[in-house]
């Protein structure tokens, strides 16, 4: 089992794609350390015979019919795009 100091904040911030400042890293590591310390108490619970609950009243296989329906028009879909051109969103090069 992990201990609160297992939180490698550089690694996790990288996974989360958030550029933290070194101040934030120090502060969050401490604050989250407190929270994780508090959460340690969950280890006391005997869950050996217990199934996980993904959500309270489970639904299974909620299908929709494969029928075309009106969709959001392109102009609306792009209304909030930071940079756009020719019905496309402009981004920096991703492939060299």
């Amino acid at each position: 089992m992990s201990s609160p100091t297992d939180l490698n904040i550089d690694h996790v911030a990288n996974l989360a794609r958030i550029a933290l400042t070194s101040e934030e890293k120090t502060k969050f590591a401490e604050q989250l350390g407190d929270v994780l310390g508090y959460i340690e108490q969950l280890k006391k619970v005997d869950v050996s015979q217990v199934e996980p609950t993904a959500h309270a009243f489970p639904l299974y296989n909620v299908w929709s019919d494969d029928v075309p329906r009106p969709a959001l028009p392109v102009e609306l879909a792009l209304k909030n795009a930071p940079v756009q051109r020719d019905n496309m969103i402009v981004v920096p090069k991703v492939v060299e």
């Binding site: 992990s2 297992d6 996790v12 550029a19 996980p52």
Partner: protein, 488 residues
């Protein structure tokens, strides 16, 4: 019953509108004027559009003149927490990430309220991305508690609660993931209801934790909450987690259900950390029910102490996934400082998100990461099963459960902001309800010596909102806390 229009209930106003002694334009003008008068102090709103609201009001009056009024909400100004999409209006989540975002479509609840003729009024402040218990995490400003402007209104739906308390909206919508409707309702002397998970569609609600989030009403009476709930509830094919349960006319059901009821009092909710004045008010409420002929039974919810821990694993895990979409590419803030595509993600998210949001994403990412998933997330999901079973076991013996909503009345701005864990613990009585997917409502049940509102929470059985509301109304009919308005 108050004489000012902006303090009347939706039910009272519907009677006046139907009699045509009042127009929606007059009512909306009164609400707008009230907002302009007090919101500089209360700061409930992120934005509002007066012209747009009056145009909707005129449309309502036109419908009514042609005999086409849609029901009790036609012409009534309804406030919206700024996470619920209203086409053409801002949708900011009180975050820099979405500061300039404009909704391209209506949420399902918005569409339903428009069909009911409601006037969609304003964008109400919240803790950023619905993460918080005080509205202090808003990237824009902190809403004040109308009963004491030095104190918080609660959160995350602080603006929605404060607006209804202060007469800046007749009713409003909020969202509740760990208590974000019920707790601010308790702190602001209003009714706040979280439906059973799946009763109300989440389509068009900015997602925080998908297995916990629900939209619900704030109102000044149980009857008004029932009216709004009937309007917004119902199966939605666009939300695959919504339930196909028939929706009763909750207002009509109130008249039919009179008790007496078997009410459970969970011993774990009356221990350490509960403010003595809150405990006393809630005990007086329990005594009221006993004197009405209800059977009051002590029950045990033995896994209560694990609720906050379970929640802060599951909710943060789910939010780390839900907030991955804010990457600066298709919408939202894009950093102008990025050197390549991946850097856009790192910098846009660093610049767009506030501290609490970052903290929760980091924690959620960690508990889901390789090597830690079983120890944290899977374990939390199993304890969640036990928490849910505690409630279902109690419901073999009682019809509903009574608890305090919040362990304390409203706290001062800044008092808990520096200590995330202390802030998280203020959700202790509301959080289990979300984990178990149950309905819960907070109603006013008194004031502290210093004039701060106190709330009573009634937790219902799954999809039994009608019974839960009837229990709530039984108390409300004998106690007029709602008339004690804030001094603004």
């Amino acid at each position: 019953m108050s004489s000012e229009l902006f303090y009347k209930t939706a039910a009272e106003l519907a009677t006046l509108l139907e009699a045509k002694t009042l127009s929606s334009v007059e009512l909306t003008q009164a609400v707008v004027a009230r907002t302009k008068a007090v919101d500089p102090k209360v700061k409930a709103f992120n934005s509002f559009d007066e012209e747009n609201a009056l145009a909707q009001a005129r449309a309502s009056d036109n419908r009514r003149a042609r005999g086409l009024a849609q029901g009790p909400l036609d012409g009534i100004p309804v406030g919206f927490k700024d996470v619920i999409s209203v086409e053409g209006q801002p949708l900011t989540a009180s975050s820099k990430m979405l500061a300039h975002f404009v909704s391209p479509y209506d949420a399902t609840v918005t569409r339903k309220l428009k069909n009911a003729g409601a006037v969609c009024w304003g964008r109400l402040n919240l803790d950023e991305f619905a993460m918080g218990s005080s509205t202090e995490n808003s990237a824009f400003h902190t809403t004040r508690n109308p009963y004491d402007l030095e104190r918080v209104p609660g959160g995350s739906s602080g603006g929605s609660a404060a607006a209804v308390a202060a007469g800046e909206a007749i009713v409003s919508l909020g969202s509740d993931t760990g208590g974000s409707i019920r707790q601010p309702a308790a702190l602001c002397n209003v009714v706040g209801l979280k439906p059973t998970y799946g009763l109300v569609s989440r389509f068009g609600l900015i997602a925080f934790a998908s297995s916990l989030d629900q939209i619900g009403p704030f109102a000044r009476s149980v009857q008004d909450a029932a009216i709004v709930l009937s309007a917004i509830a119902g199966h939605d094919p666009q939300d695959s987690t919504s339930f196909a349960a028939p929706i009763p006319d909750y207002r009509a059901e109130l008249a039919r259900r009179k008790g007496p009821w078997k009410l459970g009092i969970p011993k774990e909710y009356f221990g350490e950390g509960l403010d003595p004045e809150v405990a006393a008010s809630v005990q007086r409420a329990i005594e009221f029910y006993r004197l009405q002929g209800c059977e009051i039974k002590e029950v045990s919810l033995p896994h209560t102490e694990y609720g906050v821990g379970v929640y802060y694993i599951i909710a943060t895990a789910e939010c780390s996934s839900n907030l991955a979409r804010y990457d600066g590419i298709r919408y939202g803030h894009r950093s102008s400082d990025a050197k390549d595509a991946i850097d856009i993600y790192f910098k846009s998210r660093a610049e767009g998100f506030g501290a609490e949001v970052k903290r929760r994403i980091i924690l959620g990412t960690y508990v889901l990461s390789s090597g830690y998933y079983d120890a944290f997330y899977l374990r939390a999901q199993k304890v969640r099963t036990l928490i849910r079973q505690d409630f279902l076991n109690a419901y073999k013996e009682v019809d509903a459960i009574l608890t305090p909503t919040s362990p304390t009345p409203a706290f001062k701005r800044g008092e808990k902001a520096a200590n995330p864990l202390a802030m998280y613990l203020s959700d202790v009585y509301t959080i289990g309800v979300n984990l178990a997917g149950l309905p819960g409502v907070s109603i006013p049940c008194g004031f502290s010596q210093s004039g701060l509102p106190i709330g009573l929470q009634i937790i219902g059985q799954p999809f039994q909102e009608a019974e839960m509301l009837a229990i709530a109304q039984a108390y409300e009919q004998a106690h007029d806390w709602a008339s004690r308005k804030p001094t603004l």
